[in-house]
């Protein structure tokens, strides 16, 4: 009788232990399959939330930025761009810029030589690579005095159309007339095509872009002034250098 009792108790304990072990196993399995997957899912969702938050911040800042952008002033800059960096080979603009430089500096233009190559009357911007800045090389021969030559160099720096002098040759004859031969280049480029998507960041004007804006600002002021004033008085020279061409 006692033995049977003990066996029953033992069986009950073993059964309880077995049930516990099975329960623990089930918990482990459930944890493995459900809790782990839920937790992983939560991590994934959290990542998505972070991404969405980032997008939200970008969009919000973009919206604020765009609301603050003054369309009209930006459009005005596009008018300036047409002179500063034309979209197409604009030979008449280049010739008028060179002529303007000659007039404003007071130099007489001996010759202008340029080889612009093929010029399409109706250039299709969309077919061009917007990143490429193309050049038109030209040669100039100018005559005048020292002040006029110095005016010319100064005016080139402040020319409404971007010009870059590559090589210069300066000489003086016995009559003290300066002869300047210049190899230079002007630029044109189709309007860049921005890649706009949800993630496109709308940055504020960078330091380099500010430099360009400053130059445009200067040009806006100088352009009209330099073309209105003729000859030597057009110079915005700070100090006159010594004239080493004067014969002793």
């Amino acid at each position: 009788m006692m033995k049977q009792m003990i066996r029953k108790i033992k069986d009950k304990d073993i059964l309880a232990i077995a049930v516990c072990v099975i329960t623990i196993l089930i918990i482990i399995i459930l944890t493995k399959f459900f809790l782990t997957s839920w937790t992983n899912e939560i991590f994934q969702i959290q990542k998505k939330i972070d991404n969405e938050e980032k997008i939200k911040m970008q969009q919000l800042s973009k919206l604020t930025h765009l609301k603050s952008v003054d369309d009209e002033s930006v459009k005005k800059y596009f008018n300036d761009f047409e002179y500063i960096l034309p979209r197409q080979k604009n030979i008449s603009l280049l010739l008028s810029t060179i002529g303007g430089l000659g007039t404003a500096s007071g130099l007489s233009i001996g010759s202008i030589k340029l080889s612009p190559g093929v010029v399409y009357p109706n250039d299709d911007d969309s077919k061009k690579n917007s990143e490429v800045i193309e050049t038109i090389n030209f040669n100039l021969a100018l005559d005048g005095d020292q002040e006029q030559i110095m005016n010319f160099f100064n005016l080139v720096n402040n020319s409404k159309q971007l010009l870059n002098l590559i090589n210069i040759n300066l000489g003086v004859d016995k009559e003290n007339i300066w002869h300047l031969k210049v190899e230079a280049e002007s630029y044109f480029a189709p309007l860049p095509k921005p890649n706009i998507n949800q993630m496109t960041e709308l940055s504020v004007v960078s330091k380099n872009q500010q430099k360009a804006l400053k130059q445009i600002g200067n040009l806006r002021q100088l352009f009209n002034v330099s073309l209105l004033i003729s000859g030597s008085s057009a110079a915005v020279l700070n100090q006159e250098p010594r004239n080493p061409f004067l014969t002793y």
Partner: protein, 182 residues
């Protein structure tokens, strides 16, 4: 004899007390189960909460996207404007200030010395031809060219290419050097 056998059995019984093991395992299982249930409930509801916030964020972003679509043209205009400024700055960075260069060269040429030819190339290599009253002026010129103290434009490697004495006892010299902005 019987007593001895019974005693040994009792010791074994103490070592493997199934009732105690059963009790401990039940307590352990209960605690585990409670922890499991609590954590599952928490995780479940947190998951729902997180999903809801993701949905609301997506909806919010859709609204912003819609608002932004009204500014699409303005955005394109503004980005084009920034890219154009980049292009302009790129060209400006290539520019050499010939006004400053020429002014600097003129200022370094001493009196009694006449410059009659000057050539500058895009690498800022400069060739000059000068006329001198006497050879001493050449030394002054070289000193001036080498003196870069407190100067924004630095002249480097002045080389005298040739010196010719003319029948009128004046000298003609050809020099080359390079220069850079500080």
């Amino acid at each position: 004899m019987e007593k001895n056998i019974n005693l040994a059995l009792e010791e074994k019984k103490k070592k493997f007390d199934l009732t105690k093991i059963s009790l401990y395992s039940q307590i352990f299982t209960f605690i585990t189960l409670v922890i499991f249930l609590i954590s599952s409930t928490v995780i479940f509801f947190y998951r729902i909460k997180v999903l809801n916030s993701l949905d609301s964020l997506k909806k919010e972003n859709e609204t912003y996207q819609l608002q932004l679509s009204n500014y699409k043209d303005k955005e394109a205009l503004y980005l084009t404007y920034l890219l154009r400024l980049d292009q302009i700055e790129k060209i400006l960075s290539l520019r050499t200030d010939y006004y400053q260069i020429i002014k600097e060269i003129f200022n370094r040429i001493p009196s009694n010395t006449s410059l009659y030819s000057l050539a500058v190339d895009k690498k800022r290599n400069i060739n000059i031809k000068i006329s001198l009253l006497d050879s001493a002026n050449l030394k002054v010129l070289i000193n001036n060219l080498n003196n870069n103290e407190n100067k924004e434009i630095v002249i480097a490697k002045p080389v005298i290419q040739s010196v010719v004495r003319k029948p009128d006892k004046t000298f003609e010299a050809a020099l080359s050097f390079s220069l850079d902005f500080k």
